[in-house]
């Protein structure tokens, strides 16, 4: 049975590589002659059990899951016709890492560049592929993609400077897997019952959305592995036993070749590298992807954070268990990479944006993520449509609302992003529409950049570029990019949980330029109309007074600091109750004395006492009523006691 399973997986792996090989041949033959690649994606629920532990509903395409890998060439036109057949959820697609130059409305994030594709709706993504490299596509609404709507997007490049270095391409994704649907997980994650903001821990790790994957290798050949981390949360360490990697590309940016024995891919990061097959077929070798457990709030006992596959030279040979690798892992440092184009450090920034990453609880008790003091809340009018309809006011960040955390960037100016992590977690930050230069990345616990004393001289001269970079715990990060791509671009943490909790900012880049050059397809506006989403107006949907943001969507208020009115009322009332209560108790305690005096005058002390005593004897049946209120029969005693002792 196991053999059969391996065989099946093996077979599929062969198919995948064969297909990509065929495509590659095709593109070599066509030599950059632009083609139109069309996909019809009927997005549906289906069932899958990739880790063999639990069947669960997953979001597939055309009834299949995993969803297809998109292969295109540089220069191609990619057309994706989406039909949302989910029935119960809206959707959208984001093509991660593609700049969408001149087509920001194809970028995919809902409430930013488009409206939600409601169940039953159609939506066409249609854009030109201008960048080579390894990308992926995924849903960009309501934390949906970890339910399965995620797949690699490979842009082959006939003119690649490395085209002669390899014989075949292998697409290899790593991902994390949950057994529950995101909807429920998010509801709990963003609730008062999770005040620490502990992110749900995945149930398992996957390679190509499965486990025990076999990747067939032929001796002596060289393979270009294109790896994507499509996970929701977990970064992954990846290594190949018995083989080294030669890194050639990260996030679509070619680099000077660099040797690595282990790499780290955060959620949404990509890396392509060469693996040269050995010359003999005497053994097969494990591929290991190991989830970064530092991210996990707790480690469940039953969690296997590793997933294993094999480089298979000979199907008849055993598939060896991977050797145990102990912490600390020492993955390749991506900041040490040098872009192939040797683009130097961008000059002094025209605009510097400083963002502090903070986690805090709001008035509903849930844990939110903040850039500075703002946690992202989506606007009523998608930001792009505000930018396109606000006229000259589009350069005023106010029209985009407070809670979208908008920054208006000027065309072709150099922007510097300084991100200070005031949180002890790792955050992979992703910028839509650009790759940025990582000009400085601190070690852990380095504190805010401004206080670290680092100067421009220490910045990389030819900084590594990519579109997703990891900010270290309590560290800082300095990024630069040129605002040469008019559009509305999100900057956010790519941990899907933190997108939900608001670790998102909006960059509105050259809005007046957008107004001049962009023509949003009619279909996009129709989808909005049918979804009831206005496409004119400021973030609050106000198109009369553009600076009136009343009605804007907002997160819950801050937790009260100290006493509120109700607290003061309650405290005062409680104090009065206490005082009144004590007064009554004291009054009762002393009241007996007055009466005692009165009673005392009416008879002789000892006799009265005896009578009282007998009374008690008679009433001794009142068991259980011990003492309560009963001592009042001694009332006559007080004055007598005094005389008695005096005698």
């Amino acid at each position: 049975m196991a053999q059969l399973a391996f065989g099946r997986r093996h077979g599929r792996a062969v198919n995948i590589t064969a297909a990509s090989w065929l495509l590659c041949l095709l593109c070599h033959g066509l030599l950059a002659a632009a083609a139109t690649v069309t996909h019809d994606f009927n997005i549906t629920w289906t069932t899958a059990n990739p880790d063999g532990m639990a069947n669960r509903p997953v979001i597939g395409i055309n009834g299949q899951w995993p969803i297809p890998t998109i292969h295109v060439n540089v220069g191609d036109q990619l057309v994706v016709n989406v039909l949302n057949s989910l029935g119960n959820e809206s959707t959208s697609l984001h093509f991660h890492g593609l700049y969408m130059r001149g087509a920001t409305y194809m970028d995919g994030p809902v409430s930013v560049t488009q409206c939600p594709i409601l169940p039953g709706e159609r939506f066409t993504y249609n854009f030109t592929i201008e960048q080579p490299g390894t990308y992926w596509y995924h849903s960009h609404i309501h934390g949906q993609y970890p339910d399965g709507l995620r797949g690699p997007l490979i842009v082959h490049d006939p003119k690649s400077p490395f085209a002669d270095l390899y014989d075949e391409e292998v697409v290899l994704s790593v991902s994390d897997w949950y057994h529950d649907e995101m909807h429920g997980l998010i509801n709990h994650f963003m609730s008062k019952a999770n005040p620490t903001g502990a992110e749900p821990v995945p149930k398992s790790a996957l390679l190509n959305e499965t486990q025990d994957l076999s990747v067939p290798l032929q001796p002596g050949r060289t393979y270009l592995f294109r790896m994507v981390n499509m996970g929701a949360f977990a970064g992954q360490y990846v290594w190949f036993e018995g083989h080294n990697m030669t890194i050639l590309e990260v996030d679509g940016i070619y680099t000077h070749p660099a040797e690595a024995s282990m790499i780290y891919l955060s959620a949404a990061q990509r890396c392509s590298f060469l693996i040269t097959a050995r010359n003999d077929t005497s053994a097969n070798f494990p591929i290991v992807a190991s989830m970064d457990t530092d991210l996990f709030d707790k480690l469940p006992d039953d969690l296997n954070w590793n997933v294993t596959g094999w480089l298979v030279y000979d199907k008849a040979k055993p598939l060896p268990a991977p050797a145990v690798v102990y912490d600390p892992y020492e993955p390749f440092d991506d900041v040490s990479l040098v872009p192939w184009d040797n683009q130097t450090l961008l000059g002094e920034p025209d605009q510097t944006i400083s963002l502090d990453v903070i986690m805090d609880n709001l008035g509903d008790g849930a844990n939110y993520a903040f850039f500075n003091n703002i946690t992202y809340t989506s606007p009523i009018v998608p930001t792009l449509f505000t930018a396109l309809t606000a006229g000259d006011l589009a350069t005023n960040p106010a029209v985009y609302g407070t809670h979208t955390h908008p920054f208006v960037l000027e065309k072709d100016k150099v922007v510097e992003l300084v991100i200070n992590n005031l949180d002890p977690g790792k955050h992979p930050f992703h910028l839509h529409g650009h790759a940025f230069q990582v000009v400085w990345r601190s070690e852990e616990e380095a504190g805010p950049f401004a206080e670290s004393g680092v100067t421009v001289e220490q910045f990389g001269k030819v900084p590594m570029r990519r579109d997703t970079v990891v900010l270290r715990p309590n560290g800082n990060l300095v990024l630069r990019f040129r605002g040469d791509n008019p559009g509305v671009w999100l900057f956010h943490c790519h941990l899907e949980w933190h997108v939900q909790s608001g670790l998102v900012a909006t960059f509105v880049e050259a809005p007046l330029e957008m107004q001049k050059t962009l023509a949003v397809p009619r279909e996009h506006l129709d989808v909005c109309e049918r979804a009831g989403v206005p496409t004119v107006g400021n973030a609050a949907g106000n198109s009369v007074d553009w600076l009136d943001l009343s009605g804007e969507r907002a997160p819950p208020g801050r937790l009260p600091e100290g006493f509120t009115t109700k607290g003061i009322v309650a405290l005062v009332f409680s104090c009065l109750s206490g005082i009144l209560g004590v007064a009554v108790v004291a009054w009762y305690g002393f009241a007996g004395g007055a009466e005692g005096g009165a009673v005392g005058t009416e008879g002789t002390a000892v006799a009265g006492g005896v009578v009282a005593g007998k009374g008690e004897s008679n009433g001794a049946g009142n068991k259980g009523g011990e003492g309560s209120g009963g001592e009042s029969d001694g009332i006559g005693g007080e004055g007598d006691g005094r005389t008695g002792r005096g005698g």
Partner: protein, 371 residues
């Protein structure tokens, strides 16, 4: 301070010690008055009985306390740790009920001196009679009765001390769940010392007015404590439910956001916590006034409702003392229970009718002994 000095423990031991001293002093005074001149040898013997009874009672208390502590810490300390809040709540509730019920009774203890005197006369009289009878009556019960009567001077302080002591032990066990164990010994020692000192001082000074003042003030304080305990019991149950919901993470939240349920919060200040970092003095306010830095609707409402009940109860009790019947009821009405003390009511009423003073009977050990 709260980690070395639990205020409720002090108050309780103070009260119990004071009570014990007063009882002992009443007995001694009575013996001195009645026997020291007429029958010195009997006086000496009975005084020895009193002290023996007191001493044995204390000893037995200590043994019971030690046994209880032993059970706490061997049988279930770990298990209780897991649901400490539930136990804290339960014990706070028990302690609150004990204080509330006994508190009213204790208010009148000053006047009990005289009742004891009366009882003693009674006891002495009947024991003379018993002696005169020469033990002719047969049966075990009669023998016990005779023994009790013969050694009344031993039994009275013994039983009283035992009762006060066990009461204190149970109570202290209750409050220690919210206070560290280290907070118990000092207030116990100080409480006993202070109670004994005040009791002795009052005995020597012969001032019952001052005695009553002490008793009323300490009872008021105890009711404040009880109100706080009731509120805290509700708070602890709510917090237990909250921690169950949030899970283990709540420990790392300290007193910050998420350490409490925002939807139930009436006020929350990120300071002045009576439990966090040993309380820093706020534990004192928690012990006396039931202060919490994180009040809930439950804790605030229960605090106020508690006082409302106390106020109504005392007003009703006073009404009955003065008028001789419960409010809203005719004086000679049939025994229908509507008052707050339900079960005892009819017998009480019977007792009060018999006495014609509207006074309820007391069923403490002394009474039983003197039967």
């Amino acid at each position: 301070m709260p980690d070395v000095f639990a205020v409720p423990v002090f108050l309780v031991t103070f009260r119990e010690a004071l009570e014990t001293v007063i009882i002992v002093s009443v007995l001694l005074a009575f013996l001195k008055q009645t026997l020291s001149s007429t029958n010195p040898s009997l006086h000496k013997r009975l005084v020895r009985q009193v002290w023996l009874g007191t001493g044995l009672g204390l000893l037995l208390c200590l043994i019971i306390a030690a046994a209880l502590i032993g059970v706490f810490y061997t049988a279930g300390a770990n298990k209780w740790e897991a649901s400490e809040l539930r136990f804290e709540g339960a014990f706070a509730l028990v302690a609150c009920v004990i204080i509330s019920v006994v508190g009213a009774a204790l208010l009148r203890i000053g006047k009990m001196q005289e009742r004891w005197r009366a009882k003693l006369v009674d006891v002495m009289g009947s024991s003379m009679a018993a002696r005169a009878e020469g033990g002719r009556a047969g049966g075990v019960w009669a023998a016990v009765k005779r023994w009790m009567e013969r050694y009344a001077m031993f039994v009275l302080p013994f039983v009283t001390v035992l009762r006060e002591g066990v009461e204190a032990v149970v109570f202290i066990a209750g409050v220690t769940f919210s206070a560290p164990a280290s907070a118990v010994p000092l207030p116990v020692v100080v409480g006993i010392a202070a109670g004994a000192a005040v009791g002795y001082g009052l005995y020597k000074g012969g001032s019952t007015t001052k005695l009553q003042f002490f008793l009323v003030v300490s009872t008021c304080l105890l009711y404040l404590v009880a109100a706080g305990l009731f509120s805290r019991a509700v708070w602890a149950f709510e917090q237990h439910a909250w921690q169950t919901l949030v899970g283990a993470d709540v420990a790392e939240l300290g007193q910050g956001p998420g350490s409490y349920d925002i939807d139930k919060s009436v006020w929350h200040v990120n300071c002045c916590s009576p439990v966090f970092n040993g309380g820093n003095g706020w534990g004192f306010f928690n012990a006396i006034f039931g202060w919490t830095n994180s009040a809930t609707y439950g804790s605030v409402i229960s605090y106020n409702v508690y006082w409302l009940c106390v106020i109504v109860s005392f007003l009703v009790m006073r009404y009955r003392e003065v008028k001789g019947h419960w409010p809203l009821m005719k004086q000679k009405a049939a025994a229908v229970s509507v008052g707050p003390k339900g079960d005892d009511q009819s017998s009480r009423r019977r007792a009060s009718r018999e006495e014609g003073k509207g006074e309820a009977a007391v069923t403490d050990e002394i009474t039983r002994v003197s039967v």
